[in-house]
Amino acid sequence: MNKGNGFWAKLYVVLCFAFFYLPIGVTIFFSFNSSKSLSHFTGFSMRWYEALLKNNDIVQAVYVSVTIAVIATIVSTILGTITAIGLSSTGRVLKDAILTMNDIPILNPDIVTAISWMLLFSSLGFSKGYWTMLLAHIGFCTPFVITSVYPKVRSLDPNLANAAMDLGATPFQAMIKVILPAIKTGIYAGVLLSFTMSFDDFVISYFVTGNGVKNISIIVYNMTKRINPIINALSTIVILVIVVILIVVFATPRIRAKKAAAERKMEKELEEEGALPPSGGVKKHRRLGAGFVIALLGVVLVAGSYSAAKKSASAAGKKQQLRVYNAGEYIDMDLLGRFEEEYGCTVVYETFDSNEMLYTKLLAGDQYDILIPSDYMIERLIKEDYLQPIDWSLISNKDSLNPDVMDKEYDPGNVYSVPYFYGSVGILYDKTLVDKADLSEGWNILMDQKYKGNLYMYDSERDSFMVALKALGYSMNTTDEDQIRQAYDWLIRQRKTMKPIYAGDDVIDNMVSGNKAMAVVYSGDGALIMSENENMDFFEPEQGTNIWYDAMVITKDCQNTELAHDFIDFMLQQDVGEQNTEYIGYTSPVTGVYKKMSQTMFKGIDAYQPRSGYAKDEVFRYQTQDVKKLYAQLWTKVKAQ
């Protein structure tokens, strides 16, 4: 036989493995980096692991991932195994029907399965969260258990169980003592598959969860927008856990089997001749051993994360709870911890990518106490009766608010909203790459062939249309279909001729490192980038821009209005505002904070001061359903172009 491989074959194997393990190796390596950089190693440090343990959100997510994986594995293994056993004595037609149904979640793309369950849970009126996630995980694990166990059951001699029963065993005893031992390998395969699949799942969990319940994948997804070395530390731990489980499951029995094989050579030979049943002797012990180790590991994992999560879990039972829904990367998370401590409560914190996502979530029945949307969305929420009025007598810091940001069109008299941050939209440009004279083109500089392939647009429906409408000289609140279509054509033309990248918050890190010449950004992000990269400058075109306000509002179904007001009041405190501004870089509506920051961190950076007095500057307004739908459709098309 021609066995073994030559040099080139071995080299090829090494190269392939290098490719598979490169991302894993890099992750582990940079998790020990002492600086925030993900490309330059500046020294060994454990700081990201410390930060990880302090991050309550992540610890909670680990708890969710582990407990769901363990429970889903147990339930789906039991359900799958009894079904597989039952199938062997089921009539052909029914059996085929069950197996076909069972194949559906395996063969369907994850995303289709995910939305089908999302539709199911919302039609049933289930509140999305831990339970829906658990049910969904059982739902996709069970089919895999059945496909691993059923072939083993089929190859089983049916006379075995019958014989046991003839000898006086009850069907249950026969199942436990005769059938289960014979199909053990299939069950173990099912357990392993279920656990790892549940533990790693993102797509299905992402669609069926809600109310702040996040697993590891979802938290990573939310964190990927900005450079965040904590993810590397988390990855390293996850990798370690998975590798340890695999080694224990596969390697330990093999080593032990080798040792035992020598001792029991005789027995083995007999086995092969058929004198002994194959499940006897060595194999039995090693499978039992493997099963035991899996169980033990499970217990250790659960116990470990349980003790970590116990704090917050027991807190949820006794303490008051506040559910906050905010844009991603839009608060210094330490402040939430401080609020929890000062007010003896727990904050369930969840983030959205866009105002539209917030609205869709509310529509789907998700419940929150405090939301932090933008102006036009607040106007919509007021009109559609989602909010309750603010009791200003409970806001002790109300006098510290800058009168310039109060009483705007979206909420006259600030009946429902308390400003959080405000700013404008403009173009951040690299002074070394962009000719100052070109700035006179205003928004049309984004169409200047000189900068082809060298710019970021902002991945947001309304802001992108704002840019196009302003460039064409229209109002950004237009409801004229013809104007909207012209703006759509402008965006399509820009996509085709300029090849922009529609970035989210990742634009910040990219512009700090000067990756492109220009980017459409919020003034606050502009200020933050300018404070870290002195080549950058910010300008707001004469054609007018969007002046926006993000504000805190309290929902109608808020469960603890007093605590909600406390939270709003807390965010308006001088020191809290300073800390939050330092982290986010946006313009604070608190006069004292604004003054202090423009003297310190943002000294000399004009982007920190949103301009006023331009007649063409506007605030986004409420859109009727039809107009909103038109924009949404056209935006989908711009992006899909």
């Binding site: 194997v13 995303i111 199911l120 990855s235 529609y502």
Partner: protein
């Protein structure tokens, strides 16, 4: 073993609630308008008709194209690896296959995030190139970055089934072919590859299925302007809130997958007959 017949009842109930009804819901939403609650039902074909618009057709074509290319690369690069592994000594084979498997059990998002750090304009690869005095190469937010992410994540699913069928192969057939005067290339083409076709088909189906429906990898490595079917579905459900249109796209996607699998099964049967 007639006593165990009733054991299937719980799962039949489960299937009805968690498999049949949800699928029917997708169909229901795809063929109706009236927003995101099922209270108002208006039958319509407009959701499906909308997919026929040029933009959306292009999204489907782009996804198919990317799926086919990714699958082909995974096959072209994965087959040799599976073949080399199948020629290694028994013990080493187990170790190597385990080494192929391990990455698939580590969270896909975490690995994709690592690729973001590797490929970005000032990422690890570019700073290494910088040390060699080479100008940075723009890799992020391109077809290249999306494809790298997909290949790295999906290739093991090609290798494992191919290896399984290569390993199961009866070695004496190869010897027989050689004895009958076939040269190594002929032996490979006529015997080895033929016998591994079931594994190849399994791998192709799995990789294609994952590649065509992925939305995380294109979103993270391709940027906001990189829209594949998965991203289209996600945006309809998460940000735009048009569940009817989203369901219609999902339905079409499910049908495409079904057809692709039918086709593969046919090829498999034809090959089996020839064997």
């Amino acid at each position: 073993m007639k006593h165990y017949k009733k054991l299937t009842i719980p799962y039949i109930v489960w299937c009805a609630i968690f498999i049949i009804i949800p699928i029917l819901l997708i169909v229901l939403y795809a063929f109706t308008s009236g927003g995101n609650s099922v209270k108002t039902l208006n039958f319509t074909l407009s959701n499906l008709a909308k997919i026929n618009e040029h933009t959306y057709v292009m999204v489907f074509l782009k996804s198919l194209e990317l799926g086919v290319i990714t699958t082909f690369i995974c096959f072209a690069a994965g087959y040799p690896l599976a073949y080399i592994i199948s020629r290694a000594p028994e013990g080493a084979q187990d170790m190597l296959i385990m080494a192929v498997t391990i990455p698939t059990w580590i969270n896909m998002l975490l690995r994709t995030y690592a690729w973001m750090n590797l490929l970005s304009d000032n990422g690890i690869i570019n700073s290494l190139l910088g040390l060699l005095g080479i100008d940075p190469v723009h890799m992020m937010y391109t077809d290249f970055s999306v494809m790298i992410g997909m290949i790295c994540n999906f290739m093991p699913f090609m290798i494992i089934p191919i290896h399984t069928s290569l390993r199961k192969m009866d070695r004496s057939l190869i010897e027989a072919a050689m004895d009958l005067g076939a040269n190594p290339l002929q032996t490979f083409r006529r015997v080895i590859f033929k016998l591994s076709i079931p594994g190849v088909i399994n791998g192709v189906v799995m990789v294609f299925l994952m590649a065509i429906s992925s939305f995380v990898i294109p979103k993270l490595l391709g940027g906001g302007q990189y829209v594949l079917i998965g991203n289209l579905i996600e945006s309809q459900f998460i940000s735009i809130g048009d569940w009817n249109f989203g369901s219609a796209i999902s339905l079409i996607l499910a049908i495409i997958i079904l057809l692709a699998m039918r086709l593969m099964k046919k090829i498999d049967l034809k090959e089996a007959e020839e064997r």
